[in-house]
Symmetry: C2
Subunit: 310 residues, 2 copies
């Protein structure tokens, strides 16, 4: 749906701020608790958990993360799921979110209704409450930024901790996310991340969103090279090796497994728990000299991931 209109009666400006906020609360339905636990006071008041808290923020921007070809329902879902993928990447459980909306006065009220209903639908599916937000006007812009809070598990898996010799694993498939619709249809790997955090052989974890070639660097220990075997890469339908390395928006988990692990046993345990989610050993962290010896290893200097500013 085209999000803007010149028919003033159909715009958020015609609705006005007060009615818009009422409408947002209606569109969100039961994923918005009554104030002060939800929308309606200066802050939302949450009952704090013991243990550790996770916090992350990611936006969706018109012309970048979606356009008129994506339904507003999918845009709302994507906004939440992008952030859920970050909580999954620490092995955590999502709890509450706030949404900051920036929009042109010509934005269609119908578009916004679809967006918030899509957001609410995803929030219900993943057990998240939307507890607050803000709406501000910005000419020529339509974007929403969501801050997501989560509860850490007994162990938090960060990007740090991989060592030389560790195996590199990835969930699902990579590449061609846009054409296949994966960029809106994906399921964030929450259960998978929580399970990985219980496994002592898993040393470091992150999600792949800007393309493997770019993201794997964050997991790579100093003085090592991520020796990824090109033929091992799990390709999404229509993707080639370059797409798997560069396309971005995979929202899969990438992690390091300790060198001495019985990887066959680890993979059997995975398959028992996640029957339908593919798990692929794609390489290992090696000393640069060792990695250079093999012709089947990806030369990462030849690939780039998604660059946020150009």
């Amino acid at each position: 749906m085209q999000p803007f209109t010149t028919r003033r009666a159909d715009t958020v400006a015609a609705l006005g701020e007060e009615k818009l906020i009422s409408a947002i609360r209606r569109w969100l339905g039961n994923v918005n608790p009554a104030p002060p636990a939800g929308i309606g006071d200066d802050c939302a008041v949450l009952t704090a958990d013991r243990g550790r808290t996770l916090i992350t923020v990611d936006p969706v921007v018109y012309g970048r993360h979606f356009d008129a070809s994506v339904s507003p329902h999918h845009v709302g879902g994507k906004l939440l799921k992008r952030n859920l993928s970050d909580i999954a990447a620490m092995g955590g459980t999502p709890t509450v979110a706030v949404v900051s909306l920036l929009l042109d006065a010509r934005t269609k009220t119908d578009w916004l209704a679809g967006f918030y209903r899509g957001l609410a639908s995803a929030a219900r599916e993943y057990g998240v409450k939307i507890v607050g937000g803000d709406v501000a006007q910005a000419d020529g812009t339509l974007s929403a930024s969501l801050t997501l809070i989560g509860r850490a598990g007994p162990r938090v898996l960060t990007r740090m901790g991989a060592r030389v010799g560790d195996w590199i694993y990835v969930t699902g498939q990579l590449g061609n996310s846009l054409a296949t619709g994966h960029h809106v249809a994906f399921r964030p790997r929450l259960a998978e991340g929580q399970w990985l955090a219980t496994r002592r052989e898993v040393r470091a974890l992150m999600d792949v969103s800007d393309g493997l070639a770019k993201d794997v660097r964050a997991l790579t220990p100093a003085s090592t090279y991520p020796a990824i075997v090109a033929d091992a890469l799990p390709l999404r339908a229509g993707a080639d090796v370059r797409g798997a390395l560069e396309d971005g928006e995979d929202y899969e988990l990438l992690f390091a497994v300790a060198a001495r692990t019985d990887t066959a046993a680890f993979e059997r345990a995975w398959n028992r728990r996640f029957r339908r989610v593919r798990l692929t050993k794609i390489g290992r962290f090696e000393r640069p000299v060792a990695a250079a010896l093999s012709g089947s290893i990806v030369d990462l200097r030849r690939y780039r991931g998604y660059e946020h500013l150009r």
Copy 2:
């Protein structure tokens, strides 16, 4: 400072994403803890407090909350302080924040350096850590949205709780915020909010940011009228009654004090604690019939506050 330039070498696009994020961490300095407590992993990991948590989000948008006449340092400070005012309005203490930045590729790196240094300076002043964020490109836009987390005190003061007969108080002065520079120079009323939460006679609290005429409605109990005495309004330099009611960006505290309170004693206690901060009794919540009898009472139908969408 004009935030955009056509000289490519001076832009964030020329810097590139990776160097920009490094620069942001440098500009933020010690208000950004090392990961995973700060910027650099999929989420920030916080040690959860016991008790209750507050969460709020507010943006600054180029052309709405600032323009080229405001220094980037002040824009960064204003972004944090707008949110601090919401924590103050619940009687809480701020702890950590994340920032979602939306910018045109032509944004000057220098502008952004000033912005983040101003944000860091305010964060140090108020004891807030900046623990994460996101940078996304959006053509023709420059805006930042900050989500602020706080710790609730033993008592949370919401907007609900005022009753008929309660006195209406406001801190500081109202009106003419833009011309006087108050909209960037203001100090959020954190200590004042925390103190008010310890006083049993205070029944409801909020901050005034969209103009008193609009905001007071949120504090007003059903079937009552906020009988505000026009002559009692504390006017900022150059402001008239209309400005005090409509201008917005006051970032003062507005609260209800129980009808039977010895208000002279309450005011003496305030003045002992906050020598330099003016406190003004501006009216009381009355039955509509009683309020209509007096000619000195503001007729709120004749005034409007700041409308976010027009």
